[in-house]
Subunit: 246 residues, 2 copies
DNA sequence: CGTGCGGTTGATCCGAGTCAAGCCAAGTGG
DNA sequence: CCACTTGGCTTGACTCGGATCAACCGCACG
């Protein structure tokens, strides 16, 4: 919908060394892999820092990188020719992004906040995975999980009301942040991004949020955070769209 | 939405032998695999016939089988507690269904027409794939394809009008059938199933179809088939939702 | 100060959903 | 053979939720 401030990606080879001690290597798809193998893999990787709004890859263009998010938040998006944009998924720390075994990006990937990543050149990663079935297995499990998540999200986009979508989004964000009721949760998205994610317009998102505020279900201390006052009421508003987002 | 006539699945071990000559073994995920390995794998497989409306697995329940469609058509669905159903995907001949490396079904799989399949017990398939990285690689590529398809479909469900959805559905079906303009194409879905697929109601599907008929874009010789009269007009109606379904 | 940007709020519109009636072809049973 | 039902589909009248268009608010920044 908007052309984000698109800078060049900061690709600093000198940061490769710290990757060997990268905290994400024990999580996400690497969790099940042996230390030796990880050393081997991470020697081939690099650290990458993306500023808010910077884009890792563009839909339809060549995509040379794959990797995992270390900190921050990415959006995976697709856009129609008339400008309608849809966020197809979010990538939180630990999530794997990019398309192994293909150099064609089927969607754009853009940083919503300042983000750091562990990245590999696609062909390097592919070759390594080809020699290490365990890694390929881990990638497969991750892909199957993503497929399930995408399908549940399809359900939400196809069949639920704006009320249900906004409520289940808030629950999802609170759960991701591990925040209990009464604790402030950081919404890392602008209203526009929430709208793109939920398949709504910015005005509808705003209205549904104020409705929840007026019903004393949440507080909205500022534009980028919220506090759940009544979990039960929020769950109720989400219907079982809740379980779809899980 | 409806309780389909749910029979027990016809699981006939005696049909295993013909699987060695099953035509699908040279297609789909098996295409890249060696003949010896396929013999080995298919010795462990079975043929399965599903009548229209029969269900291979139920959402949330244990799913012991994985396999590929040999002939016919399956729907992959999920349902909300209030009965709202959504078709998350269709499985045409050659497509792989089921969830390897997990015995939990995340969606239901039901035959829309009489269907034959090549199936494997999940744990048998998993073990075999564990010993044959090429097979696992093929499954991974298939999963990544499905993920892309699901994400494009999300876009369609989130952002397009009923007109665009119905038009792109017709184009998709015609392309799948390889039928040119003027040739009748079999819609293998009822109006209800089309609605569940497109995230619409049966009435809206019906209205959009008659609108296309009245505009002389398609002919509808009977309830289960259609003929494209003007490809250009149909493409136009689909907008670029067309490319989303591809 | 203005100016711009992100967000909210209000008025109105429109398209898909809902509810209800009717159509037609395929059974079904007297 | 014909009345009657049944199920899938179409059509019409109406409703309603979310989109659209537009005004406005508040804050950051020059």
């Amino acid at each position: 919908m908007y052309i984000e401030t698109a800078g060049t990606t900061k690709f600093d080879r000198k940061l490769a060394a710290p990757c060997l001690k990268c905290p994400t290597r024990r999580h996400s798809i690497y969790a099940a892999l042996s230390g030796d193998m990880l050393d081997d893999l991470f020697r081939r990787g690099h650290c990458l820092a993306l500023g808010r709004g910077e884009t890792l890859m563009w839909e339809g263009e060549e995509a040379l990188l794959v990797g995992t998010v270390r900190s921050g938040l990415l959006k995976i998006t697709s856009m129609m020719s008339d400008g309608r944009e849809q966020i197809l998924g979010l990538a939180f720390p630990g999530d794997f992004v990019g398309r192994p075994f293909s150099r064609q990006a089927t969607s754009s990937i853009t940083a919503l906040t300042d983000t750091t990543m562990c990245v590999f050149r696609g062909n390097v990663f592919d070759a390594f995975a080809g020699n290490h079935p365990e890694l390929q297995h881990a990638v497969l499990l991750h892909a199957l999980d993503e497929l399930d998540r995408a399908r549940r999200w399809m359900m939400l986009l196809a069949r639920t009301s704006a009320r249900e979508r906004v409520a289940s989004f808030l629950i999802e964000m609170a759960d991701r942040a591990g925040a209990g009721d009464g604790e402030p949760v950081d919404i890392m998205l602008s209203r526009q991004q929430m709208a793109d994610f939920l398949g709504l317009t910015i005005e509808t998102v705003s209205r549904r949020l104020t409705a929840l505020r007026q019903a004393r279900v949440v507080r909205l201390p500022d534009l980028r955070s919220f506090i759940i006052l009544s979990r039960a009421a929020l769950r109720d508003a989400a219907g079982d769209a809740l379980s779809l987002a899980a």
